[in-house]
């Protein structure tokens, strides 16, 4: 199941997310592939690319915790994006689906 999510959560720039999960979408769905795009800043940029790859295999319920843990491990600094903001996009889709 492939989802195209877009939105501007509070404190974030316009975020776009392509999320492929094992259907149906729920907190226990596992992430198969993930692409996050937008006009945010994340430094080092390559570490953000790695985080996207490393989030594959996590469940939707683990998404925010894993994102923050990986960001801390890779000393990633970001502005205009947050795990909370990304999760808000997913939650919106979850509530539409329910």
């Amino acid at each position: 199941m492939k989802l195209e999510l877009i939105g501007k959560p509070e404190g974030c720039k316009l975020l776009r997310m392509t999320l492929e999960v094992e259907p149906p979408l729920s907190l226990s769905s596992r992430i198969i592939s993930l692409s996050i795009r937008g006009d945010f800043f994340a430094i080092p940029e390559e570490a953000f690319d790695e985080i996207q790859e490393e989030l594959c295999g996590a469940t939707i319920g683990e998404f925010a915790v894993c994102f923050d843990r990986l960001a801390q491990e890779k000393a990633l600094e970001f502005e205009g994006i947050s795990s909370k903001g990304l999760m808000e996009l997913i939650q919106k889709e979850l509530s539409h689906g329910s």
């Binding site: 800043f41 430094i43 080092p44």
Partner: protein, 260 residues
């Protein structure tokens, strides 16, 4: 004591060369081959630059770019898509150990954008920093900026809008589906300004004249705000070679441009 900086005024170049030269300067400063560097430049032909994390097809109408003769390039810095037409552009490269370098994104902007704000003041325009990465005058955007930290240096580059053609800009930039294009264009027109508009410069004054005046003011502004002492120079032969190589191999390469 003032900070010694190399000052480059490299004129108008293609998008791929401009991005190649910014990265080549980053390389040479990071290797200690050159002083921290402030560069001013312009774009010919006009171009749209895409932020590192943006999706090409989502942000830019490539066919429209071709039709209008506008280049498209992906930056190594984050931030949003920028239409580079009638503007002055700067880049600044500083080693992370330099007293002007800051470890955080916002603090780096706050320190370095003081140069732009002072430069605009030199022209008679009052402006202020609007986090994350803009400068506004009377609440309207007049400068957009982007930065990265690589190879032990901060690279920040950005635009100072001299004239703006919002209708042309939105002929090539895509609009999120959730917002009606007409409404967005009207919104942007009311939220973006330019040096020509702020100073009510008549049409009889050409863009080229305004460009020169703006660069001269920014040069003074950066010197005053950041306490810089300039060594006026040209890019080195090595930088020019690297810029050409990066322009051809990286910034012209569709694998880079269309990577998202």
């Amino acid at each position: 004591m003032a900070h010694n900086f190399r000052l480059l005024k490299t004129g108008f170049h293609s998008a791929v060369f401009n991005m190649g030269l910014d990265e080549a300067i980053l390389d040479s400063v990071s290797q200690g081959l050159c002083l921290p560097t402030l560069r001013f430049y312009g774009w010919n032909p006009p171009a749209v630059s895409l932020g590192y994390f943006q999706g090409l097809q989502e942000e830019i109408d490539i066919e429209a770019c071709k039709a209008f003769g506008i280049d498209a390039v992906r930056r190594i810095t984050g931030g949003g898509a920028v239409f580079h037409h009638h503007e002055a552009t700067y880049s600044i490269v500083i080693p992370l150990g330099h007293p002007l370098a800051r470890p955080s994104i916002i603090e780096s902007y706050r320190i370095l954008l003081a140069g732009i704000i002072e430069g605009l003041a030199e022209l008679g325009i009052r402006s202020e920093f609007a986090p994350i990465n803009d400068i506004v005058s009377a609440g309207k955007k007049i400068s957009g900026n982007a930065q990265t930290r690589k190879k032990g240096c901060v690279l920040q580059h950005g635009t100072i809008i001299i004239e703006v053609d919002v209708d042309l800009m939105f002929s090539i930039l895509r609009v999120p589906q959730e917002k009606a294009k007409g409404k967005l264009i009207e919104d942007i027109k009311s939220r973006v300004t330019s040096i020509r508009r702020c100073l009510s410069v008549p049409d009889s004054v050409s863009f080229e004249e305004l460009f020169s005046t703006t660069i001269a003011a920014l040069e003074k502004g950066f010197a005053r705000a950041l306490d810089l002492s300039y060594v006026r120079s040209e890019p080195t032969d090595l930088e020019l070679q690297n810029a050409e190589r990066l322009a051809q191999e990286k910034f012209s390469n569709n694998q880079w441009t269309a990577r998202r």
